[in-house]
């Protein structure tokens, strides 16, 4: 990462780097609304501390002076954490999420908290209590979601890297729509301690970055075992950076047939070109059928709300955030929750409550869990004779605000990404040229659990081979 290298060597000052990014924010944040909070004072203090460490001969770490934006569902001690919901109004967490601690210990400068669909439920960042984030490439369009603020912050140059969370595609889909790299690591590779839970068996934190190498470095910093998360894999983070330039010679990569059907032709064309790029670099490409990916959508939209209905029971006006008083505790809770949650969150809580209720549990939640087994089995079969899989990240380029009012059409945005959450495996989106209206297209590389090194090697080949008339330049010209 250039910033870290130059700050560590004393060539650049972290304060200057930060001020450059703050200027970019002043210029365009009013239009984009990537942030719920820009932490100007805290960031200046952190950047000055990095500079004084360098001046006194101490190494601030691999992310020295690198501005990082955090999705506003990650706890930051003493700094408001809202999940873009009224129900957490005024809450200042008493602790930092593990990923925040690790980024700061590596010398990163936290620049702000980014906007999201309320409690990460959505694919457009339109369902935020604080208003939508707009796509930096075209402000009449959405940035994707739910980590739309983080994706837009990196795409607009507000921060070098950002962290998001991905429950069904919430890192990869906005990365694709904003033309940046976005990674959903293997479940358990990155600690969820301090991430406000949406669906605990699906949620995973991962990086956004402008390049594959920067995303790899960020993942190395935040990954690895954490005793504070009982689902954390008891292994250190893999060394990805050292293997990035090893290419894909001899790798067997499968194009997922089902995920190429029904996506827009401009997106499908880029995915086929990406496959040719990998083939030209020595990979063996074929098509592979994973039919359960299509049923995955239905299973996901029962499992995720079921887990959410349970996780969001904690927002009851007792311990933190909003309280709307009432004559007794039960009434206080009803008033608080009815006033504090937005429509999409209420819909999913009720759907999840229904899927888990007596009499419907077997037909809905039970069946969805069995479909989840099918998804895992079919991915397992595909990986028996493939190292990696390839698909679109999103069925379309960024769509206009308000275009997906029907809930099923919004949920379809995640059809290519959510199978990896159901299986718990790794996947990432890499920008690969542009589609309709000159907007960015993302290609998804999928890997088996702990297959991050191979996944990033393929991503690096795609990055180097991406069509030169990049959407980023077109969007800004």
């Amino acid at each position: 990462m250039e910033i870290a290298a130059r700050v560590r060597s004393g060539e650049w000052s972290a304060v200057d780097v930060l001020e450059g990014h703050l200027e970019a924010i002043s210029a365009r944040e009013g239009e984009i609304h990537a942030f719920n909070l820009v932490m100007v004072d805290e960031a200046r203090e952190a950047a000055a501390a990095v500079d004084s460490a360098v001046a006194s001969g101490r190494d601030p770490g691999p992310l020295a002076g690198v501005p990082v934006a955090l999705k506003d569902n990650m706890c930051t001690r003493g700094v408001p954490t809202t999940c873009s919901s009224r129900i957490l109004d005024g809450w200042r967490p008493p602790y930092d999420a593990t990923v925040v601690t690790r980024a700061v210990e590596a010398g990163a400068v936290v620049i702000g908290k980014t906007n999201l669909d309320e409690f990460a439920m959505g694919s457009s960042t339109e369902h935020s209590a604080f208003g939508p984030t707009l796509n930096p490439h075209d402000t009449t369009r959405v940035p994707g979601g739910s980590s739309g603020g983080s994706a837009a912050a990196v795409a607009a140059g507000f921060s070098s890297v950002a962290l998001g969370s991905d429950t069904g595609g919430s890192i990869r889909q906005p990365a694709a729509l904003c033309g940046v790299v976005g990674v959903k690591p293997t479940y358990g590779l990155v600690s969820r301690y301090g991430l406000v839970a949406f669906a605990s068996s699906l949620d995973q934190i991962g990086p956004f970055a402008g390049s594959v190498a920067d995303a790899a470095l960020m993942l190395e910093v935040i990954g690895g075992h954490d005793p504070m998360d009982s689902t954390s894999i008891p292994r250190p983070a893999p060394d990805i950076s050292a293997h990035l330039d090893r290419g894909v010679e001899g790798m067997r990569i499968g194009l997922i047939t089902e995920l190429l059907e029904g996506v827009d032709p401009d997106v499908a064309a880029r995915v086929h070109e990406a496959a040719e790029t990998l083939s030209a670099a020595g990979a063996v490409i074929d098509e592979v059928s994973v039919p359960a990916t299509l049923y995955g959508l239905t299973a996901y939209y029962l499992i995720a709300p079921a887990e959410a209905s349970s996780n969001l029971a904690r927002f009851d006006g007792v311990r933190y955030g909003l309280r709307v008083d009432g004559p007794d505790t039960a009434e206080m809770m009803i008033r608080t929750r009815s006033a504090g949650f937005g429509d999409e969150v209420k819909a999913r809580i009720m759907l999840g409550t229904f899927a888990l209720s007596a009499g419907y549990y077997e037909a809905f939640y039970g069946k969805a869990q069995k479909v989840r087994t099918l998804v895992r089995r079919e991915f397992g079969a595909a990986y028996a004779d493939h190292d990696l899989l390839l698909s679109p990240t999103s069925p379309s380029v960024a769509f206009p605000l308000g275009a997906k009012a029907d809930p099923m059409s919004m949920y379809m945005c995640d059809v290519c990404t959510l199978p990896s959450n159901l299986s718990g495996e790794a996947a990432m989106s890499v920008p690969f040229g542009s589609g309709a209206h000159g907007l960015p297209v993302g290609v998804q590389v999928l890997a088996p659990a702990m297959g991050e090194v191979e996944m990033f090697r393929a991503a690096a080949v795609l990055e180097a081979g991406a069509p030169s008339e990049s959407a980023t330049e077109e969007g800004r010209s």
Binding site: W91, R92, P94, Y187, G188, S201, L202, S230, T231, I233, Y295, L297, T298, A299, Y301, S309, A313, D316, G317, V318, R319, Y320, G321, L322, R323, P327, D328, T329, A330, E331, M332, M333, I334, R337, S338, D343, K346, A347, I349, M350, L351, T353, F354, S357, F364, K367, Q369, K370, V371, R372, T373, L374, R376, P407, M408, Y411, L422, G424, E425, A449
Partner: protein
């Protein structure tokens, strides 16, 4: 469902959510066609084992800092409205 989820909906919201949730549940009928009789359920992507930590004293959150975030606190505890004995 709203009652179980501790939510109260206005008549307009009831109409809105009935359509919204109906559309999703209609889609859920897709899985009816699958033969899942012999398929075991998956509740979690990684094999879960009970994780134990050494039984030693570690750092904890500061009580006053935690209570300062509560809507109401009294005598080092969270304060809530009456739970029992209120006329419905």
């Amino acid at each position: 469902m709203a009652v179980l989820a501790r939510l109260r909906l206005s008549p307009e919201e009831v109409t809105h959510f009935t359509g919204h949730l109906g559309a999703i549940l209609e889609h859920a009928a897709d899985v009816e066609a699958l033969d899942l009789a012999d398929v075991p359920p998956t509740s979690h992507p990684v094999h879960l084992e009970n994780v134990m930590r050494p039984d030693t004293v570690g750092p904890t959150l500061d009580r006053s800092e935690v209570l300062a975030e509560a809507p109401a606190a009294e005598q080092d505890r969270f304060r809530v409205p009456p739970i029992l004995g209120v006329e419905p």
